[in-house]
Amino acid sequence: MNIWFPASIALIVALIPCAVTTLRGSLLDRLAGLELTGVVMAQLFVLLAVGMDRVAFVDLGLAATLLTFGGGLVFARFLERWL
């Protein structure tokens, strides 16, 4: 057992308030919750990969970071104009 597993579990627990934020409130409250969830998930992937000693899976965190960026922009644009 290394430090990375408890840290990963703590980040999974941190996803609960992110989920509450994303499921409640107005559309824009939910978008803020979604973006926060994406940021937490990106780091969770890295910590899980290191905890399981699978360094190759750290790339999931990189991919999640980029996708969070793109997804956040797409949602913001759609909410601005069409939804």
């Binding site: 430090i3 703590a10 627990v13 919750g33 973006e35 780091q43 290191v50 990189l62 644009r77």
Partner: protein, 103 residues
């Protein structure tokens, strides 16, 4: 060394936990946006340092550092775009204050 790694990871985790709770508690979407900044800009830095110090394989540390740079670079853009979308949806002018906001 393990104490240092534990401290760095603990700081990063606590930062993220408190930011998530703060975002949940806030009532205004503009205020919630502020709580995205610490997990995006500070926590990955602590994780990257912990990985460099604690792990013999430096690849994970460099990748986490890259995550830190990407999150730092993109978070401001996304937050600005989201706040702009909020402003437009509220019907208020962009780039200028209303009379109520000026008072």
């Amino acid at each position: 060394m393990s104490i240092l790694v534990g401290a760095l990871v603990g700081i990063g985790v606590l930062l993220i936990l408190f930011s998530c709770i703060g975002a949940m508690v806030m009532r205004d979407p503009y205020q919630r946006l502020h709580y995205i900044a610490p997990p995006a800009s500070i926590a990955p830095f602590f994780f990257a340092i912990a990985l460099f110090v604690g792990e013999s394989d430096r690849a994970a540390g460099w990748k986490m550092f890259l995550v830190f740079i990407l999150l730092n670079a993109t978070n401001g853009v996304v937050t600005h775009a989201t706040a702009r979308a909020m402003r437009i949806r509220s019907g208020k002018p962009i780039g200028d204050l209303t009379a109520e906001e000026r008072a």
